[in-house]
């Protein structure tokens, strides 16, 4: 157990990636990080100093799973029990999706963590496949019109040994999942929800609060699949719609939802309900 993120790193104030990376160091012992281009590439450090206290490999978007699988195979050949972790953003997961999918089908022995800040923040907040409904980004100035893809559910359908969602607002839950993940063999996937202060336009002190709020209003659902599909304890109460916090409070906290009409909020609410419906279906399988 060690803290892998060094103080004085180039991440923004209140950066969720730095919080998430810290959990990796606390949960996993011996591991190698593979980071495709994104915010985390910069957080990893500016020469001659590095931020992360673990071996890091910087790779282009689509090659990350191939590189990680290669390292993992080499470790196996040398009889070393080390984990190979890909830490990517939602941009890396969008652009390199074909190779992640291929890697999942081959069941490569790697851990993939997608730290999802719901847009391409590093290049200037362009909308991604996982951007929240109606969110304003530089490529969707009037609010995103397209639907949102559920990456974790897509990976679940690859029938890999382990898939989970996590949130930087629930660190203990995330660390628990990572501790479970390290002893499982095969392709393991964690989708981490990471609210980004400059991209979502909120004050840097609210990162954790907004991450928790997303879970409390049902917009982000924490679940885990390790042979059996389970809702995580933090998300369980919000299966009941009446117990969920008001979605408006969550939207109001963020500048990217400024000026949403009542109708649009209703639409988002419907989309969230739909998401819960199929999560409930998964639970019953």
């Amino acid at each position: 157990m060690k803290t892998i993120v060094m103080p004085g790193n180039p991440s923004c104030q209140g950066c969720p990636h730095a919080i998430g990376l810290k959990a990796l160091g606390l949960a996993l012992e011996d591991f190698v990080l593979v980071i495709p281009a994104g915010c985390s590439t910069i957080i990893a450090g500016i020469h001659p100093k590095a931020t992360l206290n673990v071996p890091v490999l910087h790779v282009p978007f689509a090659s990350a799973p191939a590189v990680a699988a290669g390292i993992s195979a080499a470790f196996k050949r040398e009889n070393k029990k080390k984990n190979v972790v890909i830490w990517m953003g939602d941009g890396g997961a969008d652009i390199g999706f074909a190779t992640i999918s291929g890697s999942a089908v081959r069941n490569d022995d790697i851990i993939v963590i997608v730290s999802d800040n719901e847009a391409y923040m590093n290049t200037g907040i362009q909308a991604s496949g996982t951007t929240f409904w109606k969110a304003k980004t530089t490529t969707s100035p009037a609010g995103k019109r397209e639907d949102r893809k559920d990456l974790a559910a897509i990976m679940l359908m690859h029938r890999v040994p382990y898939v989970a969602t996590a949130s930087v607002g629930y660190m203990n839950d995330f660390i628990k999942k990572l501790e479970k993940v390290k002893s499982i063999k095969g392709f393991r996937f964690i989708h981490l929800h990471s609210p980004c202060p400059p991209g979502w336009r909120f004050d840097s002190s609210k990162t954790v609060e907004i991450a928790r709020m997303a879970v409390k209003c049902g917009a982000w659902i924490l679940w885990e699949f390790d042979g059996k599909f389970n809702l995580s304890p933090a998300s369980k109460p919000y299966k009941d719609k009446n117990k969920r916090k008001d979605l408006k409070d969550y939207l109001k906290m963020q500048g990217r939802f400024k000026g949403l009409s009542e109708n649009e909020i209703l639409e988002i609410e419907k989309a969230i309900d739909k998401q819960w419906k199929y999560i409930e279906c998964f639970e019953n399988i």
């Binding site: 103080p7 104030q13 590095a50 206290n53 002190s205």
Partner: protein
């Protein structure tokens, strides 16, 4: 030291310089209220919080002043004060 060693980056504090200079608000810990539960340590993105003798200690050289520690503190022991 080999000439090539200068090309290899090594993990160290302050890869982005003295990030304490980014701060607008400074977190101040109230010794009496802090019970060293270390929740702020868990959520600090900058890793500048350590366990001190009486209460937690903050490394102001690198603290960016994001204010997450102030928000997550259950005892309300951390206050954000405008930097002078």
């Amino acid at each position: 030291m080999q000439p090539i060693d200068c090309l290899i980056s090594t993990p160290d504090k302050g890869s982005a310089g003295k990030t304490g200079l980014w701060r607008t608000y400074k977190p101040i810990v109230d010794e009496k209220k802090c019970n060293s539960c270390m929740v702020c340590w868990l959520y600090c993105p900058e890793n500048v919080i350590t366990e001190g003798e009486k209460c937690i200690e903050i490394d102001y050289e690198y603290c960016k002043g994001c204010g997450i520690c102030c928000e997550v503190c259950a005892k309300k022991a951390i206050k954000m004060v405008l930097e002078e």
